[in-house]
């Protein structure tokens, strides 16, 4: 068993529950022992640092200080943005001691302190490859995902900017490909592997976001993938939940499912889909799973319904999709071609 201090991040508690649930299942058999940072706080995503630098870094550093207090040395995060925020803050505080000093003065107001560089901050994908190892993973596979054509979508924030020189290549990293091959999936040639999903632009500049989402999905389609696989809650959310909006924006009918790599690893290790969060996606994975002879059981869908609460606090007239005609921007590839 390797021990890690676990920083889940806010998305793992809400929109990326499938990631959290599947990670909790596969951790034990793979020998990953996770101890969650007690009372961790949000890392600020890409928002806080665009407002106030020192508070943003102090927010991140509270987590580092709490993690360091446990006496363990290695922090594991499964969210790409959280991983990058923690790793980058640690790096910058060491690179620019004046920043580190100010952040520590702020931490002192909460009786905490952190020595930059004292923790090793890692992403789950890196841990799986470099600590657990592909051989161990392969040895645990009881149900190779033969015949499933997967587009490996690593996204931006895991391999970049890579100040700690952790990854194989910032633009064409091989880590996710290796994991998928180890579990027997067929990895398609997917040029979009590290292009952006649009990040928070779905909220503030949907047209920009739709274009980025469209490029990704069309690239996966062209590669004849059955499914896309991600390591990041934001990527999953954008490609999955905003796929419908993207379709209505461009008049396309894409149906490209996207799941977390831990969900596929879980399937290969023999866990049933319902334990791995399958069924919680908006773009159905049913067709893709049928390629490996699996169904999303009714049970999984029913369980999803259990979480149902009173409904959105908005008037009933607003509870349908209104089809508003909108301007359709030509795809960038069409324009540039």
């Amino acid at each position: 068993m390797s021990d890690y201090i676990f920083y889940p991040g806010c998305a793992m508690e809400s929109n990326a529950k499938a990631y959290y649930d599947s990670l909790m299942e596969i951790a034990q058999p793979l020998g990953i022992n996770l101890q969650e940072i007690d009372d961790w706080n949000c890392c600020g995503a890409t928002e806080y640092v665009g407002i106030n630098l020192i508070p943003a870094y102090s927010l991140i550093a509270r987590n580092l200080a709490l993690a360091a207090k446990t006496g363990q040395k290695t922090v594991l995060s499964s969210c790409s943005a959280c991983y990058l925020n923690l790793a980058k803050a640690d790096y910058y505080m060491a690179e620019r001691p004046a920043l580190g000093k100010k952040v520590n003065e702020a931490l002192a107001a909460g009786n905490l302190q952190y020595t930059p560089g004292s923790l090793d901050i890692r992403h789950l994908l890196d841990v799986l490859i470099n600590d657990i190892g592909l051989d161990t993973l392969k040895a645990k596979v009881v149900r190779p995902l033969k015949g499933l054509r997967v587009a490996p979508y690593t996204g931006c924030m895991v391999p970049r900017p890579d100040y700690n020189k952790r990854w194989s290549d910032p633009e064409h990293p091989t880590e996710l490909i290796d994991v998928l091959k180890a579990i027997g999936a067929e990895v398609v040639d997917f040029p979009g592997g590290t292009t952006c999903c649009g990040g928070h632009m779905t909220q503030i500049g949907p047209d920009t976001a739709y274009e980025l989402i469209r490029r990704l999905i069309s690239s996966a389609e062209k590669s004849k993938a059955d499914i896309m696989v991600t390591v990041c809650p934001m990527c999953q959310l954008n490609v999955d939940a905003y796929q419908g909006e993207t379709n209505s924006h461009y008049g396309t009918d894409y149906e490209m499912p996207i799941v977390f790599f831990s969900q596929l690893v879980g399937l290969a290790l023999g866990f049933p889909p319902e334990k791995l969060g399958f069924g919680s996606e908006i773009t159905s994975t049913a067709k893709a799973l049928s390629r490996i002879g699996m169904d999303i059981p009714e049970a999984a869908l029913a369980e999803g319904k259990q979480h149902q609460q009173e409904g959105l606090p908005m008037p009933p007239c607003m509870r349908k999709t209104a089809k508003t005609p909108e301007y359709k921007r030509p795809c960038a590839e069409e324009v540039k071609a």
């Binding site: 928002e47 509270r62 900017p161 910032p170 503030i204």
Partner: protein, 199 residues
């Protein structure tokens, strides 16, 4: 394989250039920005996936900073359209911390209230408000507040998707509050004090 370390060329800066704006932005960037090292090669703009919606490419924006064009640079939508993908950063031959410079420019624009469209700055501010109140982000509250204020029509269009997310247990209707809220508030207040003192 990872990039080999490159030998950096020093950007040629004229002695009578007023670089105060460039230095100011550089100081407000996390880490060592290396903004002064920009050689105007344009690799950043050429690598940028959202460049099509930007007023200026990152290269142009940095030229504007060097020329001291404060108003124009802060009013540019470029930092707000930046999706933080770090493509430019790994391709920049001078290792300029471009993405972090974008963050610094956003915070300056907010402080000086220099933006043409308030939607993006408002979104960041609402996000921060939620985190300062609960210690965790609260998507549901954030999205509803943001949509109500800036695009009620879009709220109607996305309501069905919101319901789906809710049904699948992916949207929390109530925020989670951390136990150490007082501690976090004390830390953030002290940090804000220092940020102001730094101005």
């Amino acid at each position: 394989m990872s990039k080999k370390p490159v030998e950096h060329v020093h950007a040629r800066l004229d002695h009578d250039e007023d670089l105060s704006l460039l230095h100011e932005v550089s100081m407000k960037t996390a880490g060592v920005s290396r903004l002064e090292m920009c050689i105007q090669c344009g690799s950043c703009g050429g690598s940028c996936p959202s460049e099509m919606d930007m007023d200026h490419t990152p290269r142009t924006l940095f030229a504007m900073l060097r020329a001291g064009m404060r108003e124009e640079a802060l009013l540019s939508n470029t930092p707000w359209i930046c999706v933080s993908c770090y493509h430019c950063v790994v391709r920049c031959p001078q290792n300029v911390h471009i993405t972090d410079v974008m963050y610094a420019l956003k915070s300056m624009a907010i402080q000086e209230k220099k933006y043409r469209d308030s939607s993006a700055p408002d979104f960041s501010e609402t996000f921060v408000e939620m985190v300062e109140k609960y210690g965790r982000s609260y998507e549901f509250g954030l999205a509803t507040r943001h949509y109500l204020k800036h695009s009620p029509l879009r709220m109607i269009r996305t309501a069905a998707m919101g319901l789906d997310m809710l049904k699948k247990g992916r949207l929390n209707m109530k925020p989670t509050t951390i136990k150490g809220m007082d501690q976090l508030t004390a830390i953030l207040n002290k940090a804000k004090e220092m940020e102001l003192a730094h101005e």
